[in-house]
Symmetry: C2
Subunit: 341 residues, 2 copies
């Protein structure tokens, strides 16, 4: 039986071994992914990002607990992928797993995997995408991809997700204002975790203000039941169709106590529903797959070129660069075209 | 007079215009960089990184003020490059500049430039490198490159620097433990800013513990005056040569009050001295230039390939991918080799 077949039959041990092969980018891993790919596209992919100190891991844990034991409906198979782009070397990711074990250990319906960036960020994005595909094919209905930090890495990895949660917390300092401006644009659901701390109202007010800047149209929507004169005649079609525009809701949680988790899960479910009814789901799928295709193409082009150039020629160009006889771009011209034009 | 000549003569307006051209990756910008590159290699490049809320910007401001008006020695020309990889869209970086103006405005010996990530992270690293080269050629003796956040982006940009400061602050939450593990490995000088806050001793103790894990050898050094039996005979050569190993010092600061800034500047100067006497400076220069060369090569290879493939063929491959008829890797095979093997 092939790797892919074992995984489609629900063999968790085979899955864990495959994920390692995918992370290490082995031939066996690539072949299994080729086979499994036709079985993907069924999971709801949830990205979770936010600055250090916002309590992302607790939030993801409690969401997983809720999906396993929801107040309404049936339990779902949940996978958590914790990506740590800031830790190219050692440590953090494994610690994360251990903290999780206490709450979620022993539940066969939950699968947790940590990934640390070993080489380039591009490599991490490709590996994460492969891991998510394998989990999707293996039948996990909810896959949460959690990233540590709040940089471009997170933005790239968030592009993998259908629904992106951006986690904030009160009182993390002034710098954070600068981050929100960018990160807000990728948020489908905003979460203020640790909402029992002082300053939660200030954070909420600030986020609401920024949301209104980022999504000016919704004012009309939110008010159209109160004041019909706000809407222009031309915008009527949007007013009647709730699925046309998604305004990121702000959810307050105290994750370590489980507060606000059912409401958050509900907001996530509503977003998925919106994606399906608006047709945006297939658009996101397309742009997600396109960005994966481009990443793979780039890696392959570099590998192919490296196989054609002699190490001596490369070293000679680098030597002249270090001696400042040629500039970096002139070194590239030399290596690719044979002359430093 | 060429752009490059104006800049070598100290024309600040020409410099500002060139930096924009470098950010936009224009031909004029590239040509000027080719000319200027031979004049680079004189500045001390200082990378400053750390999580949001640690007060990086204040610290950089106060270091700049100190370099302009040191308690001993002569004032130096200082450039600050503030890179915001988390803000691919708008905002944060410009705010940063405005906050700075109050302290540093009007001093012709200080030049401040903000950069936001517009496209790919790779593009940002290349643009930042170009901006730093132009500033170096323009005669700035100290160039501080500050990054917001603490992800792989920062690790990549820190590779540009000779001396990397990693800023921590007390009480930023538990997640931060996970980050430190990775970020510690790039630190040449550790700074605990906001050191007047509760918990500074805990942060210092934690950092010291992690440093001892990361640099086990230094125990011998730190203790060898007290207890000669610690050192093995074979390690004698290291003991006598202080320049052989650099142990990242931990500096306590309260940047907004200027506390600890002269001591920090001193630690930075000692690190630069160490780099020169140990020969590590030229090693870092080499690896820095190598990584820039590789970034440029990758971009060029992709651009060259894109020019050879028809948009139809690309769209057809993407279409089959979205329909899950082929996997991402099979799409790459199809585009590069003409068959999905």
């Amino acid at each position: 039986m092939s790797f892919a077949d074992s995984i489609l039959e629900g063999n968790r041990l085979a899955l864990a071994r495959l994920l390692t092969k995918i992370e290490n980018d082995t031939i066996e891993g690539r072949e299994a992914l080729n086979e499994l790919f036709a079985h993907t596209g069924r999971a709801h992919l949830i990205g979770v990002t936010g600055a250090p100190g916002t309590g992302k891991s607790s939030l993801v844990n409690h969401l997983a607990l809720y999906y396993r034991n929801p107040s309404i409906g049936k339990a779902r198979q949940v996978a958590i992928v914790a990506v740590d782009p800031s830790s190219p070397f050692t440590g953090g990711a494994i610690l994360g797993d251990r903290v999780r074990m206490r709450d979620l250990a022993g539940d066969p319906g939950v699968f947790i995997r940590s990934m640390a960036s070993r080489g380039s960020l591009g490599g991490l994005a490709v590996a994460t995408s492969g891991v998510v595909q394998a989990l999707d094919a293996a039948g996990f209905e909810i896959i949460m991809v959690e990233t540590v930090g709040a940089g471009q890495a997170e933005v790239d990895i968030a592009r993998l997700a259908h629904t992106t949660l951006v986690i904030e917390a009160p009182g993390l300092g002034d710098d954070i204002q600068a981050i929100k401006a960018g990160i807000l644009e990728i948020a489908d659901v905003l979460v203020i975790n640790k909402a029992d701390r002082p300053g939660a109202e200030i954070t909420e007010r600030a986020l609401r203000g920024m949301l209104q800047l980022a999504h000016p149209a919704p004012h009309i929507f939110q008010n159209h039941h109160k004041d019909h004169s706000w809407g222009e005649p031309g915008s009527q079609q949007f007013k009647e169709d709730d699925s046309a525009v998604w305004i990121p809701p702000i959810q307050l949680t105290v994750a370590i106590e489980g507060q606000g988790i059912p409401e958050l899960a509900d907001a996530i479910a509503r977003h998925y529903q919106h994606l399906m009814t608006s047709g945006e789901l297939s658009q996101r799928e397309r742009s997600r797959l396109r960005s994966e295709l481009d990443n793979l193409l780039r890696d392959r082009l570099v590998a192919r070129w490296r196989a054609t150039v002699s190490q001596d020629a490369y070293n000679q160009a680098l030597h002249n660069l270090v001696d400042r006889k040629i500039s970096p771009r002139q070194a590239v011209d030399l290596l690719l075209n044979g002359d430093a034009s």
